[in-house]
């Protein structure tokens, strides 16, 4: 793999705090190695800004290996940048070339208010999980793990849905700011397993009610969520959620 260095222009959203109006600022960075990760390029810029006595750009990040779901930049018109199936922290600078201008914005959705610069508040996701994204089993109540065999295909599909990292890219990409891919991943994960059976109906109904309350939009199946999901969670999960919801609605006892 050939490595190269590049000079770039960055247009980054700066916003002091929740109440501030915010605006774009332009920065230039030079001698960026193609081997750097996108966030390491931001580190370089921030280091320089501290040196100059300016306030560095705030952005969320933690594990930097694509699994914690904390990083969240909307880069050149796409959540997590140009690479498919990739989080911002795993995006590397070889995705860009010398002289490029890169526009970086925070996730935009009323349900995800900006805290500072590129940092947004995604606590709505936690509240959606609180509404029912779990199996109610207290510690110590479990039977032997092999007591219930589970069809491999179902277990695998369930795992693929459970791979969701809760980053919110689906919401950021959706023209309606819908969180349905996130919800459907959780609903599918649990509905596909026999353990999730007892709470199947209440789970989906309660989680949808919470999603609506949090101010997310509704799904219109454009597929943008699936396209930007760093864990490539398929939109079929949304269909499964719809089926679960319909089933719950039609067979409800109340």
């Amino acid at each position: 793999m050939e490595h190269y260095t590049m000079n770039l222009t960055l247009k980054v959203w700066r916003q002091k705090n929740k109440k501030d109006k915010g605006s774009f600022e332009t920065y230039t960075v030079s001698d960026i190695s193609s081997e750097m990760s996108f966030l390491e390029m931001f580190d370089v810029l921030n280091e320089r800004m501290v040196h100059e006595g300016k306030e560095p750009i705030a952005f969320d990040h933690d594990c930097r290996e694509g699994i914690c779901g904390m990083c969240s930049m909307y880069i050149n018109g796409r959540p997590h940048g140009p690479w498919e199936g990739t989080t911002t922290c795993q995006l590397h600078m070889r995705a860009f070339k010398d002289g490029d201008t890169i526009v970086v914005e925070p996730w935009r959705a009323n349900a995800f208010p900006v805290i500072k610069d590129l940092v947004v508040d995604r606590s709505a996701f936690d509240r959606i999980i609180q509404a029912g994204g779990y199996i109610s089993v207290n510690t110590g109540n479990a039977v032997d793990a092999n007591a219930t065999p589970i069809e491999k295909n179902k277990a695998d599909t369930s795992f693929a849905a459970a791979a969701c990292i809760g980053c919110g890219a689906c919401v950021a990409a959706c023209k309606n700011s819908s969180a349905l891919l996130f919800l459907s991943a959780k609903v599918s994960h649990l509905a596909l397993l026999p353990q999730g059976g007892p709470e199947r109906k209440t789970r989906v109904v309660d989680m949808i009610a919470q999603m609506d309350k949090e101010g997310f939009g509704s799904c219109t199946s454009t597929g943008a969520c699936e396209a930007v999901c760093p864990k490539e969670i398929p939109i079929t999960n949304i269909a499964r959620l719809n089926a679960e919801y319909g089933h719950a609605g039609l067979t409800s006892d109340k």
Binding site: W13, A239, K254
Partner: protein, 228 residues
Amino acid sequence: MKWSELFTSSVGKKFVMGLTGVFLILFLIVHVGLNACIWAMDGGQMFNLAANFMGSTVVMRILEIGLFATIILHIVQAYVLELQNRRKRSIGYQVPMGNKGSKWYSRYMGWLGTLILFFLIVHIRNFWVPSRWLEMPEVTYPPGVTVHDLFGLMKDTFTNIWLVLLYLLGCVSLAFHLMHGFQSAFRSLGVYNNRYIHLINGIGIGFSIIVPLAFAMMPISMYLNWVQ
């Protein structure tokens, strides 16, 4: 869960869109099938008789009311959803996502639907209103059935090139509306097995090309005098 929630929550609204959409798809099949009778090359006899049948029984009248109700529900719900969804992002992006991840026609369903709505108003004024509410020429076929001469009305109507073009625009809008709507309706109704999804996607693409194409050929056939 209350009944109302099943149709008013964010997912419930999609049920309504999906159900009405599927009903309208079924209607399109009937409509295109019936209209295809113009190509029977019998001076419009088969077409006129078929059209007459569609308005002749109580059942058909009830279905007709149902159809209008469905269309109105589909339209109203769509606008409500669109407006609500737009309010979920007060500050937009500097660089829009564009086609990175979704098809333009999936994002512009509202506009496509609006175009279809305009077309529909003209279309209903052209054919349904005269046939149902106004005086119009009649023809008599053996053994003595007298029916409205809708075939003749079509021929008259489609001598106007602007109307033909308007109809073509309507058909193109319909094609793209269906391209998204067909598979989306089934997703909203909860079809998730991959084998059915593949089937539905295939049928959906075929349907959204063939049906609007067939509709488009009707004014063209009339205008170019391919049918007598």
